[in-house]
């Protein structure tokens, strides 16, 4: 029998059903693996006690023949999802010790379906970052190493802990959130799959907000089919979120193997931007060939406003975050630093509670919304956003899907790309346009760089058509046959 931690979710569910092993066995194997991989710093809080209880409950359901969609599957929960009675920090000092008196809808859905929570996964503070180096609880280390040196690499961000845990085979799947690429980019950096569904597909209720008009929850896993299973559980209408869309969630697994024959896949020329690693451009061409070989028709499309998406994002996301993060004032929850008076207390609390990147974004957001700059920045960005959205609507008249690179580079070392904030922001240049338009997008691992690091490609779909993305993702998966393992998981497999 295969090592329990290297199974896919689909394989594990089959094994559990056949009673090849128990949910407790599966959970214990992952707990053991997690303990051996603590140097990766994937978790802010391990919740093994909860996991063991949940696994035992799963076994009881298997015994009664009442197993649910994800019964007994150990996962990592991004610490941006509020979990009732369990510390939720958003990787910020300001929320240290905060125990929500409520459960996020997405985590609640997964628990309803029998998922087992191993821990609250590390992330960039308030999901602001692309390398998981802004967490108040330390950097997350990518389980992959490059050939050229032994430097610790970043897992991408903001859902870095989630992605690293799945890649390191210490969790079978994980939740993430994606505001400008926070699922897709770390999936690419860690050699796994991750999907940001259509805005409105998953409820935002109970997810610590970063930028409300962009935030979307989605899963990470090691196959397209596993992602589909996880999303099946996470997604669905929620009356507690006014932006949740009441659109039926199809049975993704039932259509995922249909292939791409007859589908039109658009290749947007604007994604061929200067400075992109030539290896990535080559990988992109390979991806196009794979889909063509599988029967898809390739069409050239144009998304002319792509080059302004990053700028638009860095107005809108900070503007919303500056307001969303105003509630962290040390009055009702979280950390407080006592001052001489109320304003002093506010200012000291927020100075000590927020990290540098969060402060930068709050300040930029405050600036672009303030009197005198509002039209020049905020309203301008909202207008450009409309144009970006129209680009997609136009493109989807010609094709069913778009194929692009996920990120302009492979994972980099901690300390690289950090000269200034703007360089770091360029990491999300391929993922942000779809975020601005609310379109679903998925990263699938396709190959390794010359330096031995995983590279992913991004599939973008029409609104609420994640099913078609999954079909194409599985087609690429089959063609790419990406079997490489990070060094850490190789060692365990050996």
């Amino acid at each position: 029998m295969k090592n329990l931690t290297s199974l896919t979710i689909k394989e594990a569910l089959a094994g559990l059903k056949k009673k090849d092993f128990s949910a407790v066995d599966l959970t214990e194997a992952h707990i053991k693996a997690t303990e051996a991989a603590r140097h990766l710093n994937c978790y802010i809080l391990e919740t093994f006690d909860i996991a063991r209880k949940q696994a035992a409950a799963s076994d009881a359901r298997y015994a009664k023949g009442e197993a649910r969609l994800l019964d007994g599957i150990p996962i990592a929960m991004k610490d941006l999802f509020c979990t009732e009675g369990v510390q939720t920090t958003a990787a910020s000092n300001i929320l240290k010790g905060f125990k929500p008196p409520y459960e996020s809808t997405v985590s609640g859905n997964m628990f309803r379906d029998g998922a087992v929570m191993l821990g609250k996964a590390n992330l960039d503070e308030f999901a602001m970052g692309s390398a998981n180096i802004t967490s108040a609880y330390g950097n997350v280390i990518n389980p992959w190493k490059r050939k050229s040196d032994d430097k610790p690499l970043v897992p991408g961000g903001s859902s870095g802990g989630s992605a690293a845990a799945v890649a390191a085979r210490i969790a079978m799947g994980a939740t993430g959130t994606d505001t400008g690429g926070s699922i897709r980019q770390p999936a690419s950096f860690c050699g796994i799959s991750g999907i940001k569904p259509t805005y409105g597909r998953c409820s935002r209720f109970g997810i610590v907000a970063f930028a409300s008009s962009l935030d979307q929850a989605g899963p990470f896993a090691r196959s397209a089919e596993d992602c589909a299973l996880l999303l099946q559980s996470m997604a669905g209408y929620d009356s507690k979120d006014s932006t949740s869309v009441n659109c039926p969630v199809p049975d993704y697994a039932s259509t995922i193997a249909q292939g791409v024959k007859g589908l039109k896949v658009g290749v947007p020329k604007e994604y061929r931007i200067d400075g992109t690693n030539p290896e990535i451009l080559k990988l992109w061409e390979r991806g196009v060939e794979m889909l063509k070989d599988a029967g898809a028709e390739i069409v050239d499309v144009s998304l002319p406003y792509t080059k302004y998406a990053l700028q638009t994002y860095y107005v809108i996301a900070p503007a919303e975050c500056s307001s969303n993060l105003a509630r962290y004032d040390g009055v009702r929850f979280g950390q407080r630093v006592e001052g001489d008076n109320l304003i002093d207390t506010y200012e000291k609390t927020r100075a000590a509670g927020f990290g540098k990147e969060v402060k930068r974004r709050i300040l930029i957001g405050t600036y672009v919304l303030s009197a005198g700059y509002y039209d020049a920045y905020y309203n301008k960005a909202r207008r450009v956003r409309k144009l970006i959205w129209q680009d997609f609507i136009e493109a989807y008249k010609k094709c069913d899907l778009l194929l692009t690179p996920t990120a302009p580079t492979a994972a980099f070392a901690i300390g690289e790309n950090m000269q200034d904030p703007v360089t770091m922001y360029l990491n999300d240049v391929f993922t942000i346009p779809a975020s601005m338009a609310g379109m679903p997008g998925m990263s699938v691992p396709v190959g390794l760089s010359a330096d031995g690091l995983p590279l992913g490609l991004q599939l973008l779909g029409k609104p609420f058509d994640e099913a078609t993305i999954f079909r194409a993702a599985q087609a690429i998966e089959k063609a790419a046959n990406f079997t490489a393992l990070p060094q850490l998981a190789q060692a365990r497999a050996a």
């Binding site: 905060f98 125990k99 008196p101 008009s213 009356s239 006014s242 932006t243 869309v245 302004y308 990053l310 700028q311 638009t312 860095y314 107005v315 500056s322 040390g330 009055v331 009702r332 929850f333 979280g334 950390q335 407080r336 006592e338 001052g339 001489d340 008076n341 109320l342 304003i343 002093d344 207390t345 506010y346 200012e347 000291k348 927020r350 100075a351 402060k359 930068r360 709050i362 300040l363 930029i364 405050t366 600036y367 672009v368 920045y377 309203n379 301008k380 960005a381 909202r382 207008r383 450009v384 956003r385 409309k386 144009l387 959205w389 200034d420 904030p421 922001y425 338009a437 609310g438 609104p463």
Partner: protein, 95 residues
């Protein structure tokens, strides 16, 4: 377009974040770089384009007027840094 030190201080005050003089210098540079980047939006012609807030095009959902929440003061107060007799407590506010 750049953000001078006074503007940084003003914005930090609006955002209720205390920043030291050293931080003001650094932030002024960083924020100016970000601003220079987003300033590229001025190249885009947006005449007649409606500003977009949400990509969702549906009707806003409404709920029935029913009491379905509340009545949990102990839970509401459970995470409070300071509380007394069911109240949150803050440094004195002068009106």
């Amino acid at each position: 377009m750049s953000i001078d030190k006074n503007t940084v201080k003003k914005v930090a005050r609006l955002a209720r974040i205390r920043i030291s003089d050293d931080e003001v210098d650094v932030l002024s540079g960083e924020l100016s770089k970000i601003l220079a980047m987003i300033g590229q939006l001025n190249e885009v012609k947006t005449d007649g384009v409606e500003p977009m807030t949400s990509v969702i095009e549906m009707q806003m959902p409404e709920r029935e007027d029913k009491v379905t929440d509340g009545g949990i003061p102990e839970k509401i107060l459970a995470n409070a840094p300071e509380q007394t007799a069911g109240f949150f407590v803050v440094p004195k506010v002068v009106e």
